[in-house]
Amino acid sequence: QQQVKQSPQSLIVQKGGISIINCAYENTAFDYFPWYQQFPGKGPALLIAIRPDVSEKKEGRFTISFNKSAKQFSLHIMDSQPGDSATYFCAAGDNFNKFYFGSGTKLNVKP
């Protein structure tokens, strides 16, 4: 049973465009929602994270939107750059520090 469902599997965006990746979850016990960026041959790196008590969090060009009632959250990358080309993972954690990751979205930003 997949606890966190992520879409799309792959995404192609033109330079300067907005990249949007969506995730959905079922378990209402989740209380921490991080997003990770992974380049080939590297481990995932934490980008930004949110808790259910806020609906939006912005850090630079990266924004998380969170809809608690719909049990959905999304990552928006504004002004996407070729250097943003990577695989992005959403995740959800419970208060036992057990984390469930989405299957990943491979983003390709075209120059």
Binding site: P34, Y36, G41, G43, F89, G93, N97, K98, F99, S103
Partner: protein, 112 residues
């Protein structure tokens, strides 16, 4: 500040053997997490250690085990290796009392 380090970077074993993977956390971090990332798939939670104790475990068979040492480094042992154990094994560390995780580069295990 040094990041999370893992060794070896690559490991080749045959079916039925045992594999030992090692992880050194960021200085000051007391938690270590282990994940399996099979090719083209997301990360699957394996184990969480904190202050030397196993705190939580994912849906993996008992042949996946590990421990955390007094210096907070950790090792993951996989016994009776199977072909489907071939994957990238990622270790992450986290500071006390927080969920934030910082990942290492991983150990790529190939089972032949």
């Amino acid at each position: 500040e040094a990041g999370v380090t893992q060794s070896p970077t690559h490991l080749i074993k045959t079916r039925g053997q045992q594999a030992t993977l090692r992880c050194s956390p960021i200085s000051g971090h007391t938690s270590v997490y282990w994940y399996q990332q099979a090719l083209g798939l997301g990360l699957q939670f394996l184990l969480w250690y904190d202050e030397g104790e196993e705190r939580n475990r994912g849906n993996f068979p008992p042949r996946f085990s590990g421990r955390q040492f007094p210096n907070y480094s950790s090792e993951l042992n996989v016994n009776a290796l199977e072909l489907e154990d071939s994957a990238l094994y990622l270790c992450a560390s986290g500071p006390p009392g927080r969920e934030t995780q910082y990942f290492g580069p991983g150990t790529r295990l190939l089972v032949l």
